[in-house]
Symmetry: C2
Subunit: 483 residues, 2 copies
């Protein structure tokens, strides 16, 4: 601070010396316009002079317009060094690298038609927050609090909150996964888990295989990494086996990214038989699988289709990335990677490099919520709720929209293939009528899918679902008639 | 699920058909050892048969050792397809890229001598959690909860929680920063903020300038990015002006990373005059500054030294990264980047690509804590507390440790330069005696600092501080006498 090395002389009055010292520092530009000065009480104790002396100095400076005191906020410098400051401007756009540019170009929040207040939006596939059981969540906070208290507020471990990791290990075992030789890393949701895996295991130009279409955030991460993305077309049961086997035979990729349950965007659930065929193909060509556990919980509490990871009972060839974000508290950003022990140890160091660890408070609350009976009851509740909504939405699509085919069998969205109509054209027209949805092309690896669209219904009321889909249907018919 | 496409025939008894269908799926390997079966209730409703029929089928399978029911957990497959499963193993180490390897090699949690229970550890510079005002924090949670409720649990904005951003904008203005043309991005602490800035603005091989020594996490991030790191030596007032000006003149770097307050590891606070000189040099050569606001709050509530960002009142040449992690709730992982509006918009897209956003629950709680009077009172309290502890530790170091010089003037750590003794040798000996600290070499860009060490005292009791430093001092004397 400017008074740290300040010494009084015997000649001048104290208040004048204080006044001049502050003026000098403003002149030198050390005190800038807006700089905060110590309170008169603080400065008098720092300098060991009476408070009234400091008050006098401040009053003079204020009368000269050099400083200004604002009740309750403090005293601030209001005048600058007279000579105009040379400004220091950087053309940041020219400094930003290709990675950041790609992240921005592929940021659908910026590039897609935005939702506006009062519109009916089928864009979201986030859970309906009105279904969250808030009392249970509050109780989970209070439990975590009484259990760990301040420990949750200080630094934790990059690997994650131990109790939550152990819970998730058992949770994966209940899905039929053999966790021997495997470990878990807690991440900020699926997105961070996938971003860490891709950026730790690939280099630009690497071939990576995925379903076509696939999760657009995963596509964005792979494109930002400049990977050579090989999309394999899907049939109604999931990734097409013949095309997959052809790709693997001709030029095996470094990694594969697969979404077996309620695939985004198609909603397809890969049946056990198909999962096994897919697994054995990758095994045959020793191509590791990154499995996206997306929305698995929506079918979990009935007999679930075991994840692909469960087929790899004696090997380490599958990296499973899990998240509850599509049914539970996405705002908390909690996901996990289950993989080979040594690999997890490396990814843990990457996680530590990037942000040290995921919020321990959130992990503590999350854990306490999961061990209560709430989660089981909640999943039961939302499964019923979303199933009803799914069936209702499906009926309305069949009733109003002229489609070629509809894909999927549940989840929080429905994927529709139109016939002879560009979905973007439909979106533009619907937008004018206050209805928005997601054009399907953003999910494709090869600019296909121009006639597809994704209807996310989780956060739309039954009434708006019917109204919105009717409008989409009418719009499509208008466009078809124009031809 | 395996029964989704199942149809009964007229010939066999239902329970036998169920039994055989499950056996087939085990044979085919679709049901793995550990796979969970539907409950008898679920399956009977799925198949539309009586529950007792399903129970009979399960009893037979269990008697044959094919499945096992565990009370409260469910029914699981216990036997595998007979033919031994080809295992699917990947040599992950060979797949991991250079970036991930560097993150692991530079992960001091793995490479440095670990703290063990019962030891006196001077390694941590995290805040003392016993100082956290837990009641205030709990109140902040309850306030956030009643204010926003479930909204905090669903997806939010990559930019951050609006109210917190506005609060921090004012907070920066009170530090004398002109926020015109600037915006804020909320990150998971300083670490993520810096990682995002580095990975968005540099490419491997870029020259980056920093103080030598400097924050080792920042060094790790820059090395993982394969940057050409130019460390500029420090004198007692901060980065050395002559050396800095020489570096900037001879070969201007792309960016500079500077820690002006309670510099890590030296603890030096750059005075206003020096800050101005430094700023003007970078301005002269148009080299952008990434300013680490590290620990600024520890001197904030008295007249603070304005951050370098405040000197750049009419330009965008400074990126300021702030965090309260060294005094407040590091477990929550909340920091922020204040920078040019357009740049922040790009970094927002990078943040969205990496993990969508920082926990909104945490941001909501944090905001409600900050707007209460708690923060001001807390900072007052911890400043007094840490100042006493700092002075006590300094006295003990002077009393016990034969040093060449001691750097810094506060904060949560003290940096000591020994004379003719390797700090790692001292650390090894002290470790045997139950005392650990941080060897200073990890903070250097050029393998210097072998005779330096950092003493973090924030979480050590006065008693242990004296005991631990006495042991360190005795050990050094022993080593010196051995020579």
């Amino acid at each position: 601070m400017i008074f740290s090395s300040f010494e009084f002389n015997k000649e001048e009055a104290i208040y004048i010396q204080i006044e001049n010292h502050i003026k000098d520092n403003i002149e030198k530009g050390i005190l800038q316009n807006g700089s905060k000065l110590p309170s008169t009480r603080e400065l008098s104790s720092i300098l060991g002079v009476s408070r009234s002396t400091v008050v006098t100095a401040y009053e003079i400076l204020e009368s000269e317009g050099k400083i200004k005191s604002t009740k309750g906020k403090g005293t601030f410098v209001t005048s600058n060094k007279k000579v105009a400051e040379k400004s220091f401007n950087i053309d940041w756009e020219s400094k930003v690298n290709g990675y950041a540019h790609t992240c921005e170009e592929l940021d659908i929040i910026k590039t897609e038609i935005p939702w506006e207040k009062g519109m009916i939006s089928f864009k979201s596939i986030a859970p309906d927050e009105s279904l969250f059981d808030l009392d249970e969540f509050k109780r989970a906070f209070l439990n975590a609090w009484s259990l760990e208290g301040e420990k949750l507020l200080n630094y934790g471990y990059a690997r994650g909150y131990k109790a939550l990791i152990e819970y998730l290990m058992k949770y994966m075992e209940n899905k039929g996964v053999n966790t021997k030789g495997k470990e878990i890393l807690i991440t900020n949701g699926f997105t961070e888990g996938f971003d860490i895996v891709i950026n730790s295991l690939t280099v630009p130009g690497d071939r990576i295989l995925c379903e076509n279409p696939t999760h657009n955030t995963a596509l964005k991460i792979m494109r930002a990494r400049e990977l050579d993305i090989v999309g394999v077309d899907m049939d109604e049961d999931g990734i097409n086996i013949d095309k997959l086997s052809e790709e693997l035979r001709s030029n095996p990729p470094k990694l594969a990214y697969i979404i077996p349950s309620y695939h985004n965007p198609t909603g397809i659930v890969m049946k056990g038989e198909r999962r096994k065929e897919v697994f054995e193909l990758f095994q045959k060509y020793s191509v590791p699988i990154v499995e996206d556990g997306f929305n698995e919980e929506l079918l979990y509490s009935s007999s679930h289709v075991p994840p692909i990871a469960s087929l790899c009972s004696s090997g380490n060839g599958v990296i499973y990335i899990g998240s509850f974000s599509k049914i539970l508290f996405p705002g908390l950003r909690i996901g996990w990677i289950l993989a080979d022990k040594k690999l997890i140890s490396t990814l843990e160091s990457v996680k530590r490099t990037r942000n040290i660890h995921t919020s321990f408070l959130d992990q503590g609350i999350f854990y306490n919520y999961m061990i209560s009976d709430s989660f089981r009851r909640y999943v039961k509740k939302v499964r019923r709720h979303y199933r009803e909504k799914y069936n209702f939405t499906l009926d309305k699509i069949k009733q109003y929209i002229p489609y070629e085919y509809i894909m999927g069998e549940g989840g929080l969205h429905i994927f529709v293939k139109l016939k002879g109509v560009n979905a973007r054209r439909v979106l533009e027209e619907c937008y004018k009528k206050g209805v928005v949805f997601t054009a399907g092309d953003i999910f494709y690896t090869d600019n296909k899918g121009t006639e597809t669209l994704r209807i996310g219904f989780s956060r739309v009321s039954m009434e708006d679902i019917e109204k919105g889909i009717r409008i989409i249907g009418e719009t499509i018919k208008e466009i078809l008639e124009d031809k």
